[in-house]
């Protein structure tokens, strides 16, 4: 299972408009193109997860994640905020890169944790945050994933 196969250009947004944590989460959720009710439920679930502790893992990266009945299969989205946003990250630094993961409560393939681990591994590669800031199109994001074998 490759991360590259779980993203599409439509689920990549290279300029997140919002500044607040809540609005950023909503903007990421919108990339999944769910109906309004599902978006509302998903937002609450992601918020509750954030209340347990920020998903900002440091070095400008956040991985908001949850399981939710509103998706049939594991869905991923990526959003970039070039000038960074306050996300209560572990290192206290602004977050530039947001990887959203939403999985159904039960999966046949049980991909959720391996995907979470792969994204954390990919994003913590020392030069990845800078490379992500340089990409200029969703396709370039997908190419970067491919190049890294992710």
């Amino acid at each position: 299972m490759k991360l590259r196969d779980l993203f599409t250009p439509d689920t990549v947004k290279l300029e997140i408009d919002s500044d607040s944590k809540d609005e950023i989460l909503k903007e990421l959720i919108e990339l999944l193109e769910l109906d309004d009710k599902s978006e509302a439920i998903l937002f609450k679930t992601l918020k509750r997860r954030e209340n347990l502790g920020s998903t900002g893992i440091g070095k400008g990266i956040a991985i908001p994640h949850c399981r939710s009945l509103v998706v049939e299969e594991t869905r991923l989205a990526y959003g970039r905020k070039s000038n960074g946003a306050e996300f209560q990250a572990i290192d206290g630094e602004p977050v530039h890169h947001f990887f959203l993961i939403v999985a159904p409560p039960l999966e046949v393939s049980n991909q959720y944790l391996p995907i979470l681990g792969k994204i954390a591994q990919f994003a913590k590669d020392p030069d990845i945050p800078e490379k992500l800031l340089q990409i200029d199109s969703p396709d370039a994001f997908l190419t970067l994933l491919e190049e890294r074998g992710a």
Binding site: D35, K37, T45, S54
Partner: protein, 128 residues
């Protein structure tokens, strides 16, 4: 593409049950799945015990917001099942894998009514 037609209404108690379901899933995962707890601890610096306490409180709060009849049914189902609400996909209940009658599963506004699977008794959420 995001659905262009207006979102079908959803029963307010079903929305609460869906939230509850998601929280219970997270609780279960932290409580029973060491790999999941390890990811939260090591990648996200979350203390699983503290998280379980927080989740437990949130679950209780939501449970208390269920109406009396829904709460009674929820209390009957929840001790024995991980999932109180189950999705219905392509007409099949994912709690017991029995086909749901078309009259129940086929209506676009089906989630406006709080329904249970006649076979397994779980609340159902029809994925349209």
């Amino acid at each position: 593409m995001k659905p262009s037609s207006p979102t079908p209404p959803m029963h307010p108690q079903l929305m609460i049950l869906l939230e509850l379901q998601d929280l219970r899933a997270k609780y279960r995962e932290l409580e029973r799945d060491e790999a999941s707890a390890a990811v939260e601890r090591e990648v996200f610096n979350v203390d699983p015990d503290e998280a379980l306490t927080g989740l437990g409180e949130a679950i209780e709060k939501l449970e208390n917001s269920l109406s009396a009849p829904v709460r009674a049914r929820y209390d009957r189902i929840s001790p024995n099942r991980d999932r109180v609400v189950v999705p219905v996909l392509r007409g099949v209940c994912y709690g017991c894998f029995v086909s749901i009658p078309t009259a129940t599963a086929g209506d676009q506004e089906v989630n406006q009514v709080l329904q249970g699977c006649e076979s397994c008794g779980s609340f159902i959420y029809v994925v349209t």
